[in-house]
């Protein structure tokens, strides 16, 4: 049994608390125990950086230090949380002065950033720690007749310093879908476009244009569903899609949900039953 500290960010609480239940169940089937890093806070969503970058570094030094204090590596599911925390880690590892200054503040809480633990995103954790073979073995209900469009999202591929796969031609998501037995669609026109999640509250028209392009091109392929390892891309697809004038109604899935379903959980337990754009398949 592998044990890892799970960083939830803003995505696995509130109306999304059920998504954490899905994660836990999915990982249990892979013999991985998720220990929730309870005292962690929002990573700042790459938005706090607009206010002050040092604040973003401090918040995330604290988040990482909480995992280090438990002697655990850190698993992050959200692409943006992953990028923001990985960027902070790089800054803290490279800049001794910054680290010293922030550690002085963390001391009050009895914490210290040491830079000793590893930070994983879902995709590299599945590849490097769990292994695709183990995923394949956990499958009880192969997604044989599912046509699944693979969508990575941006913040696991860019910038290069924090990328967890080949940024130009990534393969880790397809490998997982292959292990689940799905028919993979990884060539569609706007597969590399940004999901627009982060501009919904800065320039909404941008989000809607992105969604209409991506989901439109997914629809053209005849895919049953588009799957993403990022809960924010998933929200953009499932919730913001409904803001389009003529929503293409393309169902989407957060990767662990689809895995849970393939591992034998029913639609409701897997979370696939909780979507605003209904998942018809299965």
């Amino acid at each position: 049994m592998v044990k890892i500290g799970f960083y939830q960010g803003c995505c696995f609480q509130g109306q999304d608390a059920h998504m954490f239940d899905t994660m836990k169940e999915t990982f249990k089937k892979l013999d991985v125990e998720l220990e929730l890093l309870e005292e962690t806070t929002c990573c700042g969503g790459n938005t706090i950086d607009e206010e002050n970058r040092k604040l973003s570094y401090a918040i995330n030094a604290r988040n990482i230090a909480l995992a280090e204090a438990k002697g655990l590596d850190m698993l992050i599911s959200c692409n943006t949380c992953y990028m923001v925390i990985a960027k902070a880690k790089r800054a803290l590892d490279e800049d001794r002065e910054l680290r010293k200054e922030i550690n002085k503040l963390l001391k009050e809480e009895g914490l210290e950033y040491r830079g000793t633990n590893k930070i994983y995103h879902l995709l590299d954790f599945f590849r490097d720690v769990v292994g695709y073979e183990r995923i394949k073995k956990a499958v009880k209900r192969p997604l044989k007749d599912w046509k699944v469009a693979a969508y990575y999202g941006c913040h696991v591929l860019y910038p290069k310093e924090i990328a967890i796969d080949n940024s130009d031609n990534p393969s880790s998501l397809q490998e997982i879908l292959r292990a689940l037995g799905a028919e993979i669609i990884d060539e569609y026109e706007h597969k590399d476009a940004c999901c627009g999640y982060h501009s919904f509250f800065t320039d909404k028209s941008m989000t809607l244009k992105k969604l209409s392009k991506i989901l439109g091109s997914v629809k053209e392929t005849g895919a049953d569903i588009v799957v993403t390892p990022c809960p924010l891309c998933f929200k953009s697809f499932d919730i913001y899609q409904l803001n389009l004038e003529k929503p293409p109604m393309v169902p989407s899935s957060f990767l662990p949900e689809l895995m849970a379903y393939a591992f034998g959980l029913d639609k409701r337990e897997s979370g696939l039953g909780h979507h605003l754009v209904k998942v018809e398949k299965g």
Binding site: T47, E109, K160, F201, K210
Partner: protein, 371 residues
């Protein structure tokens, strides 16, 4: 010798009715620029592309390989073949600009866009001597603020890769904002110019950037436009441009994260767009599916200390007053109404409960003789 097929975009508007791809077999050695020169020297002298220095300085040879922006002289053929696993390599001109011929694009449009952001120094006479016989000294310490931005060589890689340019034709482009920001942090530049740059940045799409980070990825010089855009946004708010949705979004983040350690998606639509129905609609939609909705996150044990760290950083950076304490008090009241105690008491209770649990586990372990 190992070879690979390049499918190169060809188009001569004076002769061709539409673009087409022509295939060339080239050796897998050296750089992509070497491969293109190989074609020109040995196979087809009619192929046009821009290149000059061959050493990542002039920024002329940027283009796309299978859709991804690359500087040809910096891109190893071997790596390309490895990345694309032997697949043919499709070479296209940069996006978002008109093609003059083959891989040569017209860069006038992005240049004109950049100029609207005053990417030059407007000297402050109080700092810069007006007498040309006197030097205007810049100290190494000051240069740190823009040492990366000045490396931009106008290769337009970021302009081609940009998600905001793609869907907003008015958007000035990542490099343009980086060049503007470079003068925003220059001590010699006059305040009125800084103010104008912000104004023009906003009308040029400052809030349209989606923060995809592709500009950081494709920049051959390590400029970080998306981060400069974040800095410009912060400056815009500091200068009082707070009416845009993006400014309200940031305020939401700053206040809510301080107050609860989390943002609150239920309240974002109301606080940014004044949309009061969104919260109830979303709550209802989830409740109908049997999903429990929390209005505010339960304060965690470390919350009060987290607040101290947060405020201490903001104070040090002279930004403590950016926190809207009346908003924070409102959030505190929501928390106390829901959890039936004031915030400190709630945090203490969590603390107590956890300590008790720990004590209990300790006792149990003692009983069964474990450590």
């Amino acid at each position: 010798m190992e070879t690979v097929k390049l499918q190169v975009f060809r188009y001569d508007p004076e002769k061709d009715s539409s673009p087409y791809y022509k295939e060339y077999e080239v050796p897998v050695e050296g750089t992509l620029l070497n491969a293109l020169l190989y074609i020109k020297d040995n196979i087809d002298p009619t192929l046009s592309f821009r290149a000059f220095c061959r050493s990542e300085v002039c920024g002329s040879c940027s283009m796309r390989v299978n859709g991804k922006v690359k500087l040809a002289c910096k891109t190893s053929m071997k790596e390309l073949v490895e990345t694309w696993k032997g697949k043919p390599l499709r070479i296209d001109p940069l996006k978002h600009m008109n093609v003059i011929k083959d891989l040569v694009v017209d860069i006038d449009k992005p240049i004109e866009k950049m100029k609207t952001l005053i990417p030059w120094l407007v000297p402050d006479p109080r700092v810069v001597p007006t007498d040309p016989m006197h030097e205007s000294i810049i100290y190494p310490e000051e240069m740190k603020a823009y040492k990366d931005q000045i490396n931009c060589m106008l290769c337009f890689s970021c302009y081609s890769a940009c998600e905001a340019v793609e869907d907003n034709s008015r958007y000035r482009g990542p490099f343009a904002f980086s060049r503007a920001y470079r003068f925003q942090v220059d001590r010699r530049d006059i305040e009125t110019a800084k103010e104008r740059r912000i104004r023009y940045s906003i009308s040029g799409g400052l809030w349209s950037c989606v923060q995809c980070q592709k500009c950081l990825y494709v920049c051959p010089k390590g400029v970080k436009p998306a981060e400069d855009i974040q800095n410009l946004r912060g400056q815009a708010i500091k200068k009082g441009f707070t009416d845009k949705p993006g400014a309200k979004k940031l305020k939401h983040y700053v206040d809510w994260i301080y107050a609860t350690g989390q943002i609150n998606r239920l309240y974002l639509p109301e606080e940014v767009y004044g949309n009061k129905e969104a919260k109830d609609k979303l709550t209802k939609a989830f409740q109908e599916m049997g999903v429990e909705v929390w209005e505010v996150p339960k304060p965690t044990k470390g919350l009060m200390k987290f607040r101290d760290i947060y405020l201490e950083i903001l104070s040090k950076e002279d930004k403590a007053l950016d926190l809207d304490f009346s908003h924070v008090r409102k959030i505190d009241k929501m928390v106390s109404d829901i959890f039936k105690a004031d915030i400190c008491t709630i945090v203490d209770r969590v603390h107590e409960r956890e300590d008790k649990a720990k004590g209990l586990i300790g006792k149990l372990k003692g009983l069964i003789g474990g450590k």
